[in-house]
Structure formats: C-alpha cells, structure tokens
Symmetry: C2
Subunit: 80 residues, 2 copies
C-alpha cells in the first residue's frame, strides 16, 4: 500500500482537484487521507511544509510531493 | 470509465510524476493514455493546448486539466 495525503485549504481549485483525485485513485492500493487546513487542521501545516508542500492543493505520495494546479501558497494558507 | 491523458516531454519532473500517477491511478476506472511530445508525438501539442495545458507534466481527466508540479512550459516544449 502507498500512503497519500491530500492537503487543501477549501479553495475552489482545491475542491475541484480533490474531486478528481478521489475519482481516479485506486483505493485498494492507496491509503488516502484528506487534510483540510481550514477545518481545524491548521496544526498539520508544519508537517505539510516538512514534506515540501509549497502550495495547495498538493498530494504527497509516500513522501513525494505532487503540486496539483495552484490554489494558494502556503504563505497565504498560514496568513489565512 | 474516465478518460485521462498524461502529457509529458521527458523532463525529469515529468518522468517522476508519470511514475507516481501510474502507481496510484485505478486502471479499472480510468483509460490512461501517455503522450510524450518528445517521442514523435509533437503533433499532439495543439490538442493539449486546446485542453488548456500550460505546462508539463499535466494530466487531463475527462477534459479537466491537472497541472502536476512544473517541468516545462508549453512554450519551452514547442521550442524544443
């Protein structure tokens, strides 16, 4: 199994990308966790940055970051 | 079934993203085509641009573009 974390901040670009990713990912091969910084999960911001997340939405798969389109920078997220 | 096209140009960022996408996508739900502009498929550039692809690697799922990280702009791709 791969472990994947989808980080987002509720922006329209994030929501659209989340929907696509949920549609196409193989849930039998991938443990997918969704982290929404805007919904009580701002404490996960340092972890995302440690993975190398620069903007959201981002999908981290086994530690490798895929930035998907551009919704907001992590600076914007932190300044919320 | 969803139809997805992964456009790339052979750049390291493209190759890495391709590998991740192939790993996690559900091939039972998604018809995935790989288009490599550098390998005789430069004729697909106008089609990619028509989908809204601005940079590679990009994954177009049922017409919606997900730009994944940044390897090269389409201008760079066209200028070879």
């Amino acid at each position: 199994m791969s472990n994947a974390i989808f980080y987002h901040a509720g922006c329209p670009v994030c929501v659209s990308a989340e929907s696509r990713i949920l549609d196409v990912i193989d849930h039998n091969k991938v443990n997918l966790e969704i982290v929404h910084f805007g919904k009580g999960q701002a404490n996960r911001i340092p972890e995302a940055e440690a993975h190398g997340v620069k903007s959201v939405p981002a999908l981290v798969i086994d530690g490798e970051v895929l930035h998907i389109n551009f919704g907001a920078s992590m600076e914007d997220v932190k300044n919320g």
